[in-house]
Symmetry: C2
Subunit: 354 residues, 2 copies
């Protein structure tokens, strides 16, 4: 099938063309750049929801329930399950195979499990590209599910408009070690398996940390001094009052859910809607999407640089010749890198492709 | 302290200088390249052991036990615990805080928990750099512990001479989904918590998968036809015989351990020694280390390119001007990336630094 024909079918909304385009993009097959470029102007409509959390937190169950609610509301949904090279996630949607099979025949749902991209290009970049394809195809909602362990996965979560962090009481012990990266990426916290012991403590701990974080960012002393400080700080009181009417500040809610009983899903849907309203009204959506676009361009640049340098046999054989000296210690990786860029840096301009 | 003085102290084996150098390297502070370059010729002596597995597999306990055995044998040990931005690992060595405190006062042991590096440089590269520092300082063994979920962590594991994959019966269900990447990276499999139900099945499953992998790579039919095939294939019989004397082929052993009872550690130590002997005799050590050196140079090149492009305010403000067109859809990330490299690709040659 010619590329034009494929794109015509894609634009006509044919599912087979969608699957084919996703494969081409995911594997960076011949012509993927042209396809992405031609779809580009049609992206930006879908709401992108990132869903992350530790293995066993029930991410897949919550994804499945969100898909169901979205479908009930007449919305189409694309699901991207990022399945790292790891054995330990067990394939993101396997646990909910039965549940997901119900929707597998529904043309309003598209589910894609992503393999990990090799060294020439990152997982976050690949996920973003597939998300762009689903967006251009016309899906109303995209759910991007990743296991929240590891830098690549955090990068994936950052590509969403709204990020949900799913925690379970079992992860309570490690709440003290919650890193700034994870806390700052999450817009909505969900304590799943909320009927288990320790759920209340976990919720309290998360709320405490959020309070501290907020305290720091506004330059306040800890929460128990809050009342006095409010009196002493009229600007803050005014800001609090304004917030109630005009949501231009976002305090991440800490919700409870019991996914296997389908409890707490309405609250998650409501929080997603509230967060999206906040994103639009505060201008944050624009900022986030611009940031995403900037990262997108930077990813493409780095990808091109890697491709032009490392797929060039001249560069690789030159590098090979330097390695013995590096091994013996008479040359260093830094010296060789500098030399390589001086001698072959011209490649990255890509002039010879013209 | 001047850089020369610091290096003198480092070379004299002063622990304070080691800690300081590691910090400089880990955070890529001013002068880190010069330091790494000056240490470079002294690397290559330490044996690097990677230890990976799912959260809760007992990696830290096994790390602690390995450290103890190495110390008993009079060997010095550096431990690098790669703690991703994630909350979920709970800090790699926290669970063994007490046990590790025993060794914390021992100057023959150095423990470093790595934070995650931001976008300008990857975790695997940072880990490799710190490992080089510890190697140059003179540690006999390096244990690099990572949580085996996610691409970055797998990349970290790949920087070792020998990689141990620690599994537990609880991870048995997901053995079917063991990805090629993880299986191929592991030199030694350890089933920890081997007294729990499911341990035998897990070991069998792993052995079966290893058998299949071996079957494929040597073009044999499955194992139950082995006897007949051996008769029909004298070359293979000869190879099997040769293997016993001259271990130039490696079949990853699947060991059992109960770390909390300190059971199975001798077998792990013995397997590590056997694997290192195999690495040396087969020439694989040389190949692996050359590969590591090649990746090292490529990492440095990519790091330099990123630094030169993205830390250049001219590039960033040029990029900023293009973003509105990308958002409107009248330009694409690919077009802008090409233009950026044509116009500013000269930067990557780094001539202006001279």
């Amino acid at each position: 099938m010619s590329s034009d024909r494929l794109l015509d079918d894609f634009n006509a909304g044919k599912p087979a063309a969608l699957a084919r385009v996703v494969s081409i993009i995911e594997n960076h097959r011949e012509g993927f750049e042209q396809i992405l470029a031609s779809l580009h102007s049609r992206t930006g409509r879908a709401r992108r929801i990132g869903l992350t959390g530790p293995p066993g937190a029930g991410k897949s169950s919550i994804t499945a329930l969100l898909v169901k609610r979205f479908r009930d509301a007449g919305l189409t949904v694309g699901v991207i399950a990022v399945d790292p090279t790891s054995p330990f996630t067990g394939g993101a949607l396997l646990g909910d195979r039965v549940r997901m099979e119900n929707v597998a025949l529904d043309p309003g749902v598209f589910i894609r499990s992503m393999a990990t991209r090799g060294s020439l290009g990152g997982l976050a970049a690949a996920t973003r590209e597939v998300a762009d394809v689903l967006d251009a195809f016309g899906f109303d909602r995209l759910v991007i599910e990743t296991v929240g362990v590891g830098q690549s996965e955090l990068d994936v979560a950052r590509t969403a408009d709204t990020t949900l962090l799913i925690l379970v009481p079992e992860s309570g012990d490690s709440i003290q070690t919650l890193k700034a990266g994870v806390m700052e990426v999450a817009d909505i916290f969900v304590v799943n398996k909320a009927d288990r012991p320790g759920a209340d403590r976990l919720r309290n701990d998360v709320e405490l940390m959020l309070g501290l974080r907020k305290g720091v960012s506004f330059g306040n002393t800890p929460a128990h001094h809050g009342v006095d400080l409010k009196r002493a700080n009229p600007a803050r009181v005014a800001r609090e009052a304004a917030k109630a009417e005009n949501p231009t500040e976002w305090t991440p809610p800490v919700l409870s859910a019991i996914a296997i009983k389908e409890e707490g899903i309405d609250e998650i849907i409501a929080a997603l809607d509230r967060h999206f309203a906040y994103l639009e009204q505060s201008g944050t959506l624009r900022t986030r999407r611009r940031e995403r676009m900037r990262e997108r361009v930077m990813d493409v640049v780095e990808d091109k640089v890697r491709g032009r340098l490392w797929k060039n046999t001249g560069t690789m054989s030159w590098l090979e010749l330097q390695l013995p000296a590096v091994e013996e210690g008479s040359a260093t990786p830094f010296g060789v890198a500098d030399q390589l860029l001086r001698q072959r840096g011209e490649l990255v301009r890509g002039e010879e492709e013209k």
